[in-house]
């Protein structure tokens, strides 16, 4: 069966750590950095569990700062 794999990139300097993408993700892929911050002092989002991502774009749609890009492939 073909499996859909996804991945996201987060523009960590643009991210404000609002946590909305983490809440919107149906597969619990994203999380905020616990200690690391960007230049503005925000705990930016990152892929905590990259293997779970299905590329559904939910995180990117709700991101207020348009800092998430989504990639998707069908694995054969």
């Amino acid at each position: 069966m073909a499996k859909i794999r996804g991945a996201v990139t987060v523009n960590s300097e643009r991210c404000k750590g609002c946590n909305l993408c983490v809440v919107a993700c149906p597969c619990d892929v994203l999380d905020l950095m616990k200690k690391e911050v960007n230049n503005r002092g925000y705990h930016f989002a990152y892929m905590a569990a990259p293997e779970k991502c299905i590329g559904c774009q939910s995180c990117a749609l709700v991101c207020p700062d348009a800092c998430i890009e989504v990639y998707r492939v069908v694995e054969k």
Partner: protein, 259 residues
């Protein structure tokens, strides 16, 4: 398959719209304005109207909208965005003219202009962000503030006997003959974001086709003004705002004709 194999340009399914500038947005983390800006940029890009779009930015949090979306902008005096958009559309009928206003601009100081522009049926699109508070000035009570809601100027909650009732202006506008499309949407979940995008697209198409006024109200959060985290603000909006401001199309002349 490793992440690096997936992250390739040919696999990209979602990116920041190219009309959205790289400049850092001044909005608070989690503010709904950012999502709506993104949708406006996406829709203009999809319709190929970059050279034809004229936005009118308000006074309020969205006052710097002209820094973020790479189209032509006008900056109106407080509340007078629809009046300015009227002038722009009448002088250049082939342009896409839209206003982007908050509730302090559209439903408080600019109520007169808003109602009369809609009543005249000017072919402009109005994007109205309703977050039930004056966000930019520090969270004071707005006409749209809910009964019982605490703000800086009603710290014990809004009272009907003292402050009057919350103003739901979009159903008012739906009664006017000049409006073509009046809808109320929200951007708190991915599904609602998609619906709002479709609504904005329809509003912009109506403006281009000269069909009358389109109003897209977006029920939004102001997590700073409400003093909640972004996710709790979304939940508060679902629990409290939607009772007074239910989502859905209030008027759609095109759909009514089909029936």
């Amino acid at each position: 398959m490793e992440n690096n194999d997936i992250i390739k340009i040919e696999n990209r399914v979602y990116k920041k719209p190219s009309l959205l500038n790289d400049s850092h947005m001044h909005y608070c983390p989690g503010c709904s304005h950012g999502v709506v800006h993104k949708l406006v940029a996406e829709v203009i890009e999809e319709l190929g109207l970059q050279e034809k779009a004229i936005g009118v930015s308000p006074v309020g949090c969205a006052v710097f909208a002209y820094n973020y979306i790479d189209i032509d902008w006008l900056e109106a005096a407080h509340g007078r965005a629809t009046a300015m958009a009227t002038a722009a559309k009448r002088l250049m009928p082939d342009k896409l003219v839209f206003t982007y206003q908050g509730d302090g601009d559209f439903a408080a100081i600019g109520t007169c202009e808003s109602i009369h522009s809609c009543n005249r049926g000017e072919s402009i699109a109005i994007i109205f962000i309703n977050n039930a508070i004056y966000g930019m000035t520090g969270g004071q009570m707005a006409p749209t503030t809910l009964l019982g809601q605490k703000t800086a100027t009603c710290p014990y909650g809004r009272r009907a006997d003292l402050n009057g009732y919350p103003l739901s202006i979009t159903p008012l506008l739906a009664q006017l003959d000049g409006t073509r499309y009046v809808t109320r949407q929200s951007v708190h979940t991915p599904a609602n974001v998609r619906k709002t995008k479709a609504a904005i697209k329809k509003a912009f198409q109506n403006s281009m086709e000269g069909k009358g006024t389109s109003v897209v109200e977006v029920v939004s959060t102001c997590n700073t003004g409400w003093k909640l985290s972004p996710e709790k603000a979304n939940q508060w909006m679902v629990d409290n705002m939607f009772a007074k401001y239910p989502l859905g199309d209030l008027k759609n002349v095109d759909a009514e004709k089909k029936d």
